[in-house]
């Protein structure tokens, strides 16, 4: 189904400012970087996690460790997704026990990805707590999950798609809302 761009939500500069603000909020809420680790959900959440860690380093002087989660093996919809996902590696090279974990993803929607990510993180150990940072919260939750840090709230219809495009994967930083043609 061809998709039409309905709205342009964020460009490079506003994304940078948003991530800087979230980095400040993470430092404020956790009083620095002690025991702090950042874990991103593949693929774009991982890129955002790395950017947040770098921004935190610029502000605070210490770069928190960054991990990458691939939640494919923890999905609850593996049997109903039409296209089989390719499994990639989870990379958490540090001990998660007693750590303050900030989980990062690009878009918060139904909350099912976050549920899978929480299950996977807990299989690595027992963190002090897990906080959630997302660039976009588009609503329509199907689970009781909320984010601690939100870049931008966008009211959407379930027929629309929110696409976060990043320099690392798409060659440019922007967020757009797409809708199906002819509706």
């Amino acid at each position: 189904m061809p998709m039409r761009e309905k709205a342009h939500i964020m460009d490079k500069n506003s994304m940078q400012r948003t991530l800087a603000r979230i980095a400040h909020e993470i430092l404020e809420k956790n009083r620095g970087t002690e025991d702090l680790v950042i874990v991103g959900v593949r693929t774009r959440g991982a890129y955002l996690a790395e950017r947040l860690a770098q921004t935190i380093e610029q502000i605070d002087g210490h770069k928190p460790p960054v991990g990458i989660l691939d939640i494919t093996l923890y999905r609850d919809d593996l049997s109903s997704i039409a296209q089989q996902p390719v499994v990639h590696k989870t990379e958490i090279d540090f001990d998660i026990q007693h750590k303050k974990v900030v989980l990062v993803d690009d878009v918060l929607y139904t909350g099912r990805t976050v549920r899978a990510a929480l299950d996977e993180i807990i299989d690595f150990g027992r963190p002090q707590f897990i906080q959630l940072a997302v660039l976009i919260d588009r609503g329509h939750r199907e689970l009781p999950i909320r984010a601690d840090y939100v870049g931008k709230n966008i009211p959407t219809s379930p027929k629309e798609t929110v696409e976060v495009r990043l320099e690392e994967s798409e060659g440019r930083d922007e967020v757009v809302v797409l809708e199906q043609n002819g509706e």
């Binding site: 093996l73 997704i81 296209q83 590696k89």
Partner: protein, 331 residues
């Protein structure tokens, strides 16, 4: 998002001969993720929760069966082992009847070892359940070859261009056959080495080099895969005596001195120490034999995962039932 990687669409894993290079590479890539899983403190993922795997073994096997059992359990599947000594096969039940009865128990995946070449293919054609071939006669043992290739890739980075020698009873070895198919597809140069009696005629047509000189097989090789001499199968007196074999073909420290310093020594197990390989080599710095065992779990988890996913889609398509909320994966 366009998926650059090819999808796995087969409900079964029967052998490497029928697989494309892309499919083999996808399997090896998927196994990398599972290698990470089995190195965690909690070595278990919920991926195959609610699925049932039956290990149906018509030949004695401990390591392959246990490896599949561990792999299935790490994926949260339920596992049932059927040892043939205690089954109805003794009462004359045919293979297909046995398979259909297992399927009627709502089993999702059957892992089968059988002494007849082609048994897995036949079962796969007759059942809707996924079949994973855990060795059929002299034909194929795909997961063993995949774990050998996984180990090679992990240790040496690439498979393309590697020189791999396979030493031992090539004629009666399904491990050799699966390795030859897989390695040549991925661009490795394969040399087989054995007494002439144990080399099947026409093997050159698969693209391998043939030699009866162990020194030639070891020279320039990046890895040597040492097959187990299956003396229990020698009904034709085709094999030289054990000591004679060791003298002419055994991998010893002395012989390795003339090989590449970092040559990998591999063996599918169980080892006949002092027959195919000397103890100091089997336990020495070049040996990756125990790492192969660990990698076997990762590779078998990948195989179980991929066939299970593919079969769910096939079964859904065939029954015309579209999954509720079926959607294209965005991530």
């Amino acid at each position: 998002m366009v998926n650059k990687n090819p999808a796995w669409t087969r409900k079964d894993l029967l052998g490497l001969q029928e697989l494309t290079r892309d499919e083999i590479e996808l399997l090896l890539k998927t196994a990398e993720s599972f290698k990470e899983v089995i190195s965690r403190e909690v070595k278990k993922v919920p991926t195959l929760r609610g699925k049932t795997v039956v290990n149906l073994f018509y030949e004695p096997s401990t390591r392959t069966r246990v490896s599949f059992e561990v792999a299935a359990k790490r994926l949260s599947a339920d596992v049932i082992n059927i040892a043939i000594e205690s089954s109805s096969v003794r009462k004359g039940e045919t293979l297909i009847d046995t398979g259909k009865n297992i399927e009627a128990l709502k089993v999702d995946i059957i892992v089968m070892r059988h002494n007849c070449s082609g048994a897995a293919v036949m079962l796969a054609k007759n059942l809707h359940a996924s079949i994973i071939n855990a060795g059929d006669g002299w034909h194929e043992h795909p997961t063993q070859a995949l774990l050998d290739m996984f180990t090679l890739k992990e240790k040496l980075g690439v498979i393309e261009g590697l020189k791999v020698s396979i030493v031992g009873d090539i004629a009666h070895s399904r491990v050799a056959r699966s390795n030859i198919w897989g390695l040549t597809k991925l661009g490795a140069h394969v040399t087989v080495c054995a007494p002439p009696m144990l080399i099947p005629t026409g093997i050159e047509k698969t693209g391998v080099s043939v030699t009866s000189s162990i020194d030639e097989a070891l020279k320039d090789a990046d890895a040597v895969n040492v097959l187990r001499m299956q003396f229990e199968r020698d009904t034709e007196n085709a094999f030289p005596k054990q000591l004679e074999y060791f003298k002419n073909f055994g991998i010893t420290a002395e012989r390795l001195k003339k090989a590449k310093k970092n040559i990998l020594v591999m063996h599918p197990g169980p080892i006949n120490r002092g027959v195919e390989v000397s103890s100091d080599v089997a336990d020495g710095p070049n040996s990756v034999i125990l790492e192969q065992v660990t990698n076997g779990i990762a590779v078998r988890m990948a195989a179980l995962f991929l066939v299970s996913q593919a079969n769910e889609h096939i079964l859904k398509k065939n029954t015309g039932v579209k999954a509720k909320n079926e959607k294209v994966l965005v991530k």
